[in-house]
């Protein structure tokens, strides 16, 4: 039945391999389009090592070329990645396209590549060989999806700031996806060379990039076999047209274009959308929360956690924070209040690594101020944001699972080998995540997307995600903003409960009643400076504070 379709089936496999090299960067949200260059380098270099005769009589000699190709592709991606990975979005896309074009021109002008004439090679890639490679790739991505690394990729794709604050090393994750993409592109290049039996610089021009990107996006990143879906679709459409008796020529590209357009317009997430819906809802683990007992104990009350002196931040001529000294001790609930623009958010951004200070120094849980966010997260700082930064295309449960990043170990390599310890670690992360969802009362929304939650529930979800990191110091930036009175009261109760569990809390809030209810110590900021600090009721009665901030409220309370 397959007779006569060998070439088509192999072409589809090659299309899928190319698409995987785009899939892996798209998973991490990086629009990186240099794959054609990495593929061509790998293809040309592999011709230097691939033997001309089958190995041991029957094994395809390309088997030698594949690791070589992967290595060359990965190395090239690393070298290109060092300068370009600072770029984002369309700038990254165009810088990587430029790198591919430069490689093409170099190959075109080199002696050993035979320039524009290219090379003729033996055709060693058969369709079973090609599909074996696809199967290996599909396996690698299947095991990656629900692993700690797979979640880190998704978190970086959805929101880099939030990912960093959850302990994901954003720069490393982006580089990892970039290098993996280079390696897969390298494998593609070698397969291409020994399937078509001929390589020229033109084989790896911009149209290759477009076709790889289109295949990957068409397939979608929601399921691990998305690239295969895309390749089968694009490979099959011309065949189906032939079978229907449609003439070749302009009708084929027209139909392909229209179908592609239809998929993109009507199926966000590509063809994988059709399969992602089949996925079962996440199962709540039984009453078995035993793994949680193994979490590290939190520091004893009174232990100094953070100490900063002279912390300052200015944006041009605006001094947002001016010389703030702050000590935080374990077990306290520290409220930070102040008028709008007093520098509260800037202050917590500096002590969680989101912004470097312009002056001042200190450490938070041993991490020097000015380090990158994931360092603070790994040390035990976890935070929420004033404007919630949830991973919008992940489920509620997956959002919280990302939070477990810093208290779990990488499971990907062990998952590849089906080691039981990987399964244990994933179960533990799942139990930890479910426990937080229950803690904030969102367990029955686990399968929903954040977009479907009410405003108050979104804030709760952010808190659950932060708690999943088992933080020593939890920073909440206006957690009650937009909540109604009842929700705010519940939240105050939750915060006090956290303190009872030994979590140290620093929270910024405008709802003064809630702050006075929940905190054990109060700091008041105005114009970037600490104007009062101490026992909440006393501070609230301080005339300077009243003048700066509580004016009207104080008058009201006097009349009562």
């Amino acid at each position: 039945m397959l007779a006569g379709y060998d070439a088509l089936i192999t072409t589809i496999a090659l299309g899928a391999i190319l698409a995987y090299s785009f899939h892996v960067v798209l998973m991490a949200g990086q629009l990186s389009l240099g794959q054609a260059g990495f593929a061509s380098l790998a293809a040309y270099v592999s011709t230097l090592v691939v033997p001309t005769e089958p190995i041991a009589g029957s094994i395809s000699p390309v088997i030698v070329g594949l690791p070589m190709g992967a290595l060359v592709g990965a190395a090239a991606a690393f070298v290109v990645g060092l300068p370009v990975l600072r770029l984002r979005g369309v700038f990254l896309a165009i810088a990587t396209i430029a790198s591919a074009e430069m490689i093409r021109v170099l190959i075109n002008n080199a002696e050993w590549t035979n320039g524009a004439l290219g090379m003729r090679l033996d055709r060693w890639v058969t369709f079973d060989f090609a599909w074996a490679v696809v199967a290996v790739l599909a396996y690698l991505f299947w095991r990656l999806g629900p692993s700690r690394s797979g979640r880190a990729f998704a978190a970086v794709r959805e929101d880099e700031l939030a990912a960093g604050s959850m302990g994901v090393d954003v720069a490393r994750t982006r580089m990892a996806s970039f290098v993996a993409s280079g390696a897969i592109a390298g494998v593609y290049g070698v397969m291409f060379a020994y399937f078509f039996g001929r390589i020229t610089p033109v084989s790896f021009d911009f149209s290759l990039t477009v076709s790889g990107l289109v295949t990957a996006v068409l397939g979608g990143y929601l399921v691990f076999f998305g690239p295969v879906l895309g390749a089968v679709f694009l490979g099959a459409v011309p065949e189906v047209q032939n079978a229907l008796g449609l003439e070749a020529g302009w009708i084929h590209p027209l139909v392909t274009g229209v179908l592609l357009l239809a998929v993109i317009l009507f199926l966000p997430g590509g063809l994988s959308t059709l399969f992602a819906r089949l996925r079962p809802a996440p199962a709540r683990p039984g009453p078995d929360y035993a793994p949680l007992d193994a979490l590290d104990p939190l520091p004893d009350p009174g232990t100094p956690l953070a100490s900063v002196t002279g912390l300052a931040k200015s944006y041009g001529a605006v001094n947002a924070v001016r010389g703030v000294d702050l000590e935080i001790r374990a077990g306290e609930v520290l409220g930070v209040i102040g008028p709008n623009g007093a520098g509260k958010t800037t202050l917590v951004n500096m002590i969680s690594g989101l912004e470097p200070p312009t002056a001042g120094e200190g450490t938070v849980l041993g991490v020097p101020i000015g380090s990158r966010p994931h360092r603070f997260a790994q040390a035990g700082v976890s935070r929420t944001f004033q404007h919630s930064k949830l991973f919008e295309r992940l489920t509620v449960l997956d959002n919280v699972l990302v939070g477990t990043h810093v208290v779990s170990r990488s499971t990907y390599l062990r998952r590849l080998l089906w080691l039981p310890s990987a399964r244990r670690d994933e179960r533990r992360a799942l139990a930890l995540a479910w426990a937080q969802l229950e803690r904030v009362g969102l367990a029955d929304r686990a399968a929903a997307r954040p977009g479907a939650l009410s405003y108050g529930d979104r804030r709760r979800l952010e808190i659950a995600r932060a708690l999943a990191a088992h933080p020593t110091l939890l920073i909440l930036d206006e957690p009650a903003a937009g909540m109604n009175h009842v929700e705010a009261l519940e939240l105050a109760g939750l915060i006090r409960g956290l303190a009872d569990d030994g979590v140290t809390v620093l929270f910024i809030e405008h709802n003064v009643k809630m702050v006075l209810d929940a905190c054990t110590r109060l700091v008041v900021l105005d114009f970037g400076e600490v104007i009062a600090e101490g026992e909440p009721r006393e501070v609230a009665a301080d005339p300077r504070v009243v003048e700066a901030y509580l004016g009207t409220e104080h008058e009201e309370s006097e009349h009562v």
């Binding site: 979005g89 810088a95 911009f206 274009g257 317009l265």
Partner: protein
Amino acid sequence: MLQQLANGVFAGSIYALFAIGFTLVFGVLRHLNLAHPAVFTAGAFIGIEVAARTAIPIWILFPVVALFGALAGVLVERIAFRPLRGRDDEHFAGLISSVALGGVVIALLQARYGTDPQHFAADYFPNRLFEVAGVRVTLTQLVTLGLALVLMLGLAWLVSATSLGRSMRAVAENPTAAKVLGVNVGRVTAGTYALSSALGTVAGALLALNLGQAGRDLGASIELVGFAVIILGGLGSLWGAMAAGVVLGVAEALTIHLFDSTWKSMVAFALLFAVLVLRPRGLFGHVKVREV
């Protein structure tokens, strides 16, 4: 040497025309319209056909081509971008939908014109040769340069001084606020695409006039250089794109002069790469870096 410089300026003015249409849409709407090269190609074919059928003079030909282009631009927006509005993958999906639509446009061109390149009739436009200070220029090149200058200055005037231009700048700054203040965002969007594609089709027809012919890969051949131009100029910056187009044209001409033509695109991309790494906002741009 001087001759090479002049050739570079002529080539660069076409790059610039191609690129300002491209960068206009990005600057106002943050869309990267990858159907633009196909529209550019369509402009060349339409120009050749209209010239062959009606024998209208060249100063009527380009407005006619621009009309077709404006219409095509409105369609591109309606088909490839409007349905995606508000989706969380809007920018990303727009890349792919516009690639797909570009493919459809090229297929339609193939349906109408076949696979062979189309030619302007040899006597359509008298290609007189001038010699100024030892530099030879053709009439076509002069027309190209003149038209490109007029169109670019016209666009700059339109954006800075007319009510449509004001609305476009408002939408570029903040679409939501513009809408609240009563700007008809739908109309501005359509207008931006119409302008962009009109410029693109005229650029295509001009390039075809210079080459004497046009094939289906005309747009693809200039696409990457177009990227380089808009980045060098600073994404979304009109003046930057104009300047960068000429800079790149001259740089290419000099490379051909000093090395040979196989190194031509190396200069564009090495320059592009260096600028992106060292100065991501472009040589002239000050547009805010925005994610796609």
